[in-house]
């Protein structure tokens, strides 16, 4: 049978017929997504009413926004009784909200530190950059500390030299035994930091003085403070959390017990009590006469707090790995640290990314609690701004500004975690 025998063959495609009336189109969409049954209709009506009510309540207030005013009284005079937002307070006080009472002529230093932060973070966050730039990320903490607090450049250099001392000692002794090498290196670095760092930096400063004007910690505030505490806490709590999680899964009873007690204690108390410990009790636990910077104390406490939560998140990731991975690593003859580094942790950390980033976000939000021990976080600064006669009685504009900045940071972090999950996704599900 071929085509010539057949009496009629269609030569062209049949055009798709138009959809039946009443299907598709905006009406169909609305019926399906807004008015699907009485409950859905009720919810739609309630939502639309709520949104409309909100718009009616807020629109005139936002519509009458006033940016050019130097006090609330001036604002109210301009508004003449009408409701309106007075954003003049943000225009007037934004440096304070960002930097606290940092000297105004030195604002370039934290700004430069922040710009360098982005440069230092880039190779860590995105893989496109060559790994050689990681050197800058390693040097960054000392550089940023020097830029923000000022003082002699030789002090951070002396601190970094401690690491060099440790590396040198390790290289020379590790051939005999790795454990011995590690202990000698740790001891050497500790001795350097306690006894030699200070004399070295003052001696070097006497020869080549490189000094920035020092800024005391109590003048640092606002989002600058939040970012300092948040970034340091994030960077240090992750490695600490990994160690604690490994400790909690360790077969050594003492290490296991120490990790459990530490994690459960820290997770059991509110952060505020730890911060109060840092400000009130630390003087009891340290040798008489020691007094170190309040921001440093807070950073240590926030880091310890976050690392306990981090440990639990990572422990979940470790528990989520199938046993076969551990056994395969052992079968390959890898020792404990190599197995962890090459096989277990890369997978466990990947599973726990959402939890890790949630902990980061929580840590960044928790930086606001430092207002309770007298540091000037953005919320405390809002109260400080209200205490001035010009801006007495201003609430919503400040809260909206602070909330919006926090939202941008935290939302950005959660979006980044989604990107990271996609990038690291290697399974074929």
């Amino acid at each position: 049978m071929n085509l010539h025998n057949v009496s009629w063959v269609r030569q062209e495609m049949v055009l798709p017929s138009a959809r039946p009336a009443g299907q598709g189109g905006p009406r169909e969409w609305m019926r399906k997504n807004l008015f699907d049954g009485w409950l859905s209709t009720l919810l739609t009506v309630a939502s639309v009413t709520a949104i409309a009510w909100l718009i009616v309540a807020i629109a005139p207030w936002l519509g009458n926004s006033i940016w050019k005013a130097n006090s609330l009284a001036e604002c109210r005079q301009l508004l003449d009784g009408a409701p309106g937002a007075c954003w003049g307070v943000i225009r007037d006080r934004w440096p304070q909200l960002l930097f606290g009472f940092y000297p105004a002529d030195l604002y370039w230093r934290p700004v430069l530190a922040f710009a360098l932060l982005l440069a230092a973070l880039a190779p860590v966050l995105f893989r496109a950059l060559p790994s050689r730039t990681l050197w800058f990320s390693a040097v960054y903490p000392g550089l940023a500390g020097w830029l923000i607090w000022g003082g002699s450049l030789w002090f951070p250099v002396a601190v970094y030299l401690g690491f060099a001392v440790a590396a040198g000692l390790f290289a020379s002794t590790a051939r005999a035994s790795q454990g011995l090498g590690l202990s000698v290196a740790g001891l050497g670095a500790a001795l350097w930091w306690v006894y030699a760092a200070q004399p070295f930096s003052s001696a070097a400063n006497a020869v080549i003085p490189i000094v920035l004007e020092a800024v005391p910690s109590r003048e640092i505030g606002g989002f600058l403070l939040s970012i300092i505490i948040g970034v340091t806490g994030i960077a240090t709590s992750l490695p600490l959390g990994i160690l604690l999680a490994l400790g909690r899964r360790s077969g050594l009873p003492l290490i296991y017990m120490l990790s459990v007690v530490f994690i459960e204690f820290i997770r059991g108390v509110p952060l505020i009590t730890l911060l109060f410990t840092a400000s009130l009790l630390l003087n009891y636990f340290l040798p008489p006469g020691t007094n170190f910077d309040l921001i440093l104390r807070v950073v240590i406490m926030v880091t310890l707090f976050a690392s306990a939560y981090m440990a639990e998140v990572i422990r979940g990731g470790l528990a989520g790995l199938p046993c076969g991975q551990y056994e395969a690593a052992e079968a390959l003859g890898l020792d404990y640290w190599k197995a962890q580094r090459l096989i277990i942790l890369p997978q466990a950390l990947k599973i726990s990314i959402p939890g890790i980033v949630n902990t980061f976000i929580g840590l960044f939000k928790d930086t606001t609690l430092v207002m309770f021990i007298g540091l000037l976080d953005p919320i405390a600064l809002a109260a400080a701004i209200r205490a001035n006669t010009e801006w007495q009685g201003i609430y919503w504009e400040l809260f909206i500004f602070i909330g919006a900045v926090f939202f941008i940071f935290c939302f950005g972090m959660s979006r980044y975690s989604m990107y990271l999950e996609r990038r690291l996704k290697t399974d074929h599900r």
Binding site: I255, R267, N283, F285, L369, F411
Partner: protein, 417 residues
């Protein structure tokens, strides 16, 4: 045939302590233990020296001296002549009260938002996404402060309710007054009261005790009613109607008791410059309660959503194929599985709420931290003892809650064979 022989025994070297896996674990632990003991000794030694230098000793005797400050609200009897220990208990109760209430409202809010975020309704799902994202990504402290500001700045003063043309009016049929000093609610009252039973630990209101007793008896009676219905059903195949009997068992004794006690509501009323009567919920309490509820509700919504999403569609379809009705599908198949996923993070949210009540400091709520960890420290100068005690209390609460969670987890765990 090869002879079985033991591994060759090497003579013991000192370096084997670090290089030989047989000894390494032990030597690491010994070193860690020595360092731990040294660190503890160093801390204790420093503390002893510092205390001696300040002329203080380590004792909890201050707990029994007069506190000398007022706490409001106080759930148990308390006055400024009570002891610091009692102040701490009042603070602890305030912490637990606001934590429990915030847990309830946050759960309601979270379940609603989590379920609605999955709904087919486009606008509601979007609205709930906005709620979750905006409340999760802003510090809890800011929400608490914002609610406090709304209450104190945007609400009318009590004097606005006065006069012939008041600018504000009470809501819900003149029973609730929302003012900038707090919210006045009607309270239940008994005109033929049974009185109180005074004891060393506090007063027991006999009216409420009677109500609770009757409620407990009703619950027991209803249980036996249902059990009987079950027996009849398994014997005859027909289940006798129980709903109106249950209703009767609950309603009849309670109404009789309340009538006998002369139950009525006492409404707040304007007297002079302020409201009197009724129950005053202070701004500090409302700010902490609402702030924590809306903040934690967003987290709970995410837990609920992920729990529901984790149950595969096949489960629903399988249940339908077995002929289960949609309601029974939900009750017997979906919920038990979803709850297994939802409850553990839910309980850790409750833990977080309990710890976050310490943020009440920002709005002046007198919780454990503000009494024992705040004013008591300022008055007695016993920061070391008071902070240790307070941390111990918080850790105990948290261990109790996580203990409950562990029991639940082991009960609902999948039995794998």
């Amino acid at each position: 045939m090869a002879m079985k022989s033991a591994a060759p025994r090497e003579p013991f070297h000192l370096s084997m302590l670090f290089n030989d896996t047989r000894y390494r674990a032990r030597s690491i632990q010994v070193i860690a233990f020595i360092m731990l003991v040294l660190a503890a000794a160093w801390l204790v030694d420093n503390t002893v020296h510092n205390l001696a230098a300040l002329g203080k000793n380590f004792s909890f005797g201050f707990l029994w001296s007069t506190a000398g400050y007022d706490i409001s609200p106080h759930a148990i009897e308390y006055s400024s002549t009570s002891s610091h220990a009692r102040a701490a208990v009042v603070g602890l109760l305030n912490t637990l009260i606001v934590a429990a209430m915030a847990c309830v409202t946050a759960t309601v809010l979270g379940v609603l938002a989590g379920v609605l975020r999955l709904s087919n309704n486009w606008i509601v799902a979007r609205l709930m996404t906005v709620y979750v994202e905006s409340f999760r990504n802003v510090p809890a402290l800011l929400w608490i402060v914002v609610v406090a500001a709304i209450m104190s700045q945007a609400m009318p003063t009590p004097s606005a309710f006065r006069g012939d043309n008041p600018t504000a009016s009470m809501i819900l049929w003149d029973s609730v007054a929302v003012t900038n000093r707090g919210i006045y609610l009607p309270v239940p009252d008994f005109s033929r009261s049974l009185g109180q039973l005074n004891s060393a630990f506090g007063a027991l209101d006999l009216n409420y005790a009677a109500v609770l007793c009757v409620l407990a008896i009703s619950v027991l009676a209803r249980r036996s009613l249902v059990e009987r219905a079950q027996r009849v059903q398994s014997a005859s195949g027909e289940r006798p109607a129980t709903w109106w009997k249950s209703l009767l068992v609950f309603a009849l004794p309670m109404i009789t008791l309340l009538y006998a006690l002369g139950f009525h509501l006492e409404y707040p009323a304007l007297k002079g410059l302020n409201f009197s009567g009724g129950l005053l919920l202070r701004n500090s309490f409302i700010a902490l309660w609402i702030g924590l509820s809306v903040y934690s509700g967003a987290f709970i919504a995410e837990n609920v959503r992920s729990g529901i999403l984790a149950i595969s569609r096949g489960q629903t379809e399988a249940a339908h194929a077995l002929g289960l009705s949609p309601r029974r599908t939900m009750r017997l198949v979906i919920l038990p599985q979803a709850l297994r996923i939802i409850v553990p993070p839910l309980i850790s949210q409750y833990l977080d709420i309990t710890k976050n009540t310490s943020l009440g400091l920002a709005v002046g709520y007198m919780d454990l931290r503000s009494t024992l960890g705040g004013i008591t420290i300022n008055q007695t100068g016993r920061e070391l003892e008071a902070m240790l005690l307070m941390m111990l209390i918080y850790v105990s609460i948290s261990l109790i809650i996580s203990g409950i969670m562990n029991v639940y987890n082991s009960r609902v765990r999948l039995q794998e064979r």
